[in-house]
Amino acid sequence: MPRADRQTVFLALINVIVLVTGALLAGANFIDSYNLQIMAAQVPELGLLALGVTLAMISGNGGIDLSGIALANLSGIVSFLVVRALVVPGDDPLLFSWTFAGVAIAVGLVGGLLNGIVIAFAGLTPLIATLGTQLLFTGVAVWLTNGSALSLGYIPPLDSFGNLPVLGVPLCFTLFVVVAALIAYILRYTPFGVKLMLLGSNAKAAHYGGIPARRMIVITYTICGILASIAGVVIASRNLSVKWDYGSSYVLIAILIAVLGGVKPEGGYGKVLCVLLAATALQILSSLFNFLGISNFFRDLAWGVLLLALLASARVNFSIWLPSRQ
């Protein structure tokens, strides 16, 4: 696939260009190992949500997941409330951390399953279904916490998962890369992934090809929910607190990353490696804005322009400028 390869190279180049620009504008400590580690530790939250949006978009039929960050926050909150009642964090911090992660992922699974069932069996469009569940998840999170943040306190294993580098790479970033590789493998090499691409590119052909569309949709959105809950665990471990409105702009940025990574909003195409590169590029750019002291409002402006420019660039045919491949 020459087109896809070119896209990967293009995104990798963007990463390098932004890094070099950063080093030139903000000084060499922009690319020292300390700052790179900080940036890497910030990627997973958004990266995992963007992978969820990617899967939803690939499945076609207007697929999108607006409920990601809401579910991430809800799973952190529910899990903390449940686990707090079972395990005393001071007694056995390791057990607490693992139970916390396990319960959070279970909540994500249930939330994702709800999305999938509502979309596949009740027949709601993904947009309305995930809009409804976004409000529902957020609403339950507000109700459970009365709208305030819950502090987890200092729990060593959880804190080191969120912030500690092992062999120079933050643990949560390693986990993100492993999860991304797993999703990439599923999409590329398993029958499920191949069927999902077909379902997304042509639902009618997939139906006549005997692909169980409903089951595929339910599984896809369940995976989205699990990805969101992993993001929730990362958020909790990095901040050592959980709150219902954490990352309220993540809905847009997750979609932006997916589109930047070349995922087709109309379904049937998407490459995990490109999404991963898009997530790191956005993170580096965002850190650069921080370094240069540019206001958050301006950063949002840049995201909006970037999204529209990307959509526009997809409509312009650049191939006439390139040497012919024949």
Partner: protein, 339 residues
């Protein structure tokens, strides 16, 4: 909901009610509204007072004006999430302009100016949606970010506490003043008239003009609408322009009723407006929707947001209830379409 009480008179009645709701989805919304009102009234009889009615109407005005624009976009098969950003931009920039440059500008100049400004933004939305051939959700998320952060970066972030006299007067004007038995004075604001006018105009466009036919045709099956000779480009420009126009008007009404221009206001309201329109029976995939249903959807959202505290349901549950209503209504409407 209503069929629960009637099922014992035989499956025929159930079938007929189901079919009726299939043809008139707004009846389901009406049933939800009535049930909510009855529920609240039983738990707290004080609720059925004129001042509460006025409060609900007052709280529905801005939502209702927004919802009329969203209805047109949804009916044409699109979606718009940038209208609250347009409203915030227009209300803030215009308040700033009137305060600093034309302090004596009357409201009958301000409102058309707001409408024109909003319509200009909306037409740009329409152009982008058409030219980029991308789902309008993604395009308008982009423009929402652009418009809102442009406002906050380059125009200003400070509140306007002293809004121009014309807007202040417009917000204070009342149609009816009600003196309650216990000395409570409540008024029905004149801004309700703006909602009535926009609702009528939207109804007229959708039901009585060729553009209305084109909107529903484009929302139903774009390919067939094009072969019938409808110009999809004009339809998109029109619906997004209409949503922008009404957003501009709603922004000014919002400033006038709150006596305050806050550039951070209205953000995040877009989802509950879309929820109201969908609760009113408009299909998110386009081709359907009525003004009456949308108004009922708006009332339902206002009821949930404003009066559930009357019956001791904590206000923290609001969002969850709206979310559950969307899933419930969406499921019922979707099953009805399949049958």
């Amino acid at each position: 909901m209503t069929d629960m009480t009637l099922t014992n008179s035989g499956p025929g009645v159930f079938r007929r009610i189901w079919d009726l709701m299939g043809r008139r989805p707004e009846l389901f919304t009406l049933a939800l509204v009535i049930l909510t009102v009855i529920g609240v009234a039983i738990a707290n009889p004080d609720f059925l007072a004129v001042n509460n009615l006025f409060d609900i109407l007052r709280a529905s005005v801005v939502r209702g004006i927004f919802a009329m624009g969203v209805l047109a976009v949804l009916a044409a098969g699109g979606i718009d999430v940038s209208f609250t950003a347009i409203a915030a931009f227009v209300m803030y920039a215009l308040t700033m302009l009137v305060t600093n440059v034309f302090p004596g500008m009357p409201i009958w100049v301000i409102l058309p100016l707001a409408a024109a400004g909003g319509a200009a933004f909306g037409v740009v939305n329409g152009l982008l949606v058409h030219a980029l051939r991308t789902p309008s959700l993604i395009v308008t998320i982009g423009t929402q970010y652009f418009i809102r952060s442009f406002l906050l970066t380059f125009i200003g972030t400070a509140l306007f506490m002293n809004i121009p006299a014309a807007m202040d007067g417009f917000g204070k004007a009342s149609l009816i003043t009600w003196h309650g038995t216990n000395g409570v004075i409540s008024t029905l604001p004149a801004t309700v008239l703006v909602l009535v006018a926009t609702a009528f105009a939207t109804w007229f466009i959708l039901e009585r003009t060729l553009m209305g036919r084109a909107i529903f045709a484009a929302g139903g099956t774009p390919g067939i609408a094009e072969r019938l000779g409808f110009n999809l480009f004009y339809v998109r420009l029109f619906v997004f322009g209409w949503a922008g126009l009404l957003a501009g008007v709603a922004g000014i009404v919002h400033v006038a009723s709150n006596r305050l221009a806050n550039p951070f206001d209205l953000a995040g309201m877009e989802l509950e407006i879309i929820a109201a329109v969908v609760l009113g029976g408009a299909k998110i995939t386009g081709g359907s929707g009525t003004v009456v249903g949308t108004l009922l959807g708006v009332v339902l959202i206002t009821l949930v947001s404003n009066v559930l505290v009357f019956i001791g349901i904590p206000s923290t549950l609001q969002l969850a209830i709206i979310g559950a209503f969307i899933l419930l209504a969406g499921t019922i409407f979707a099953l009805r379409n399949r049958a």
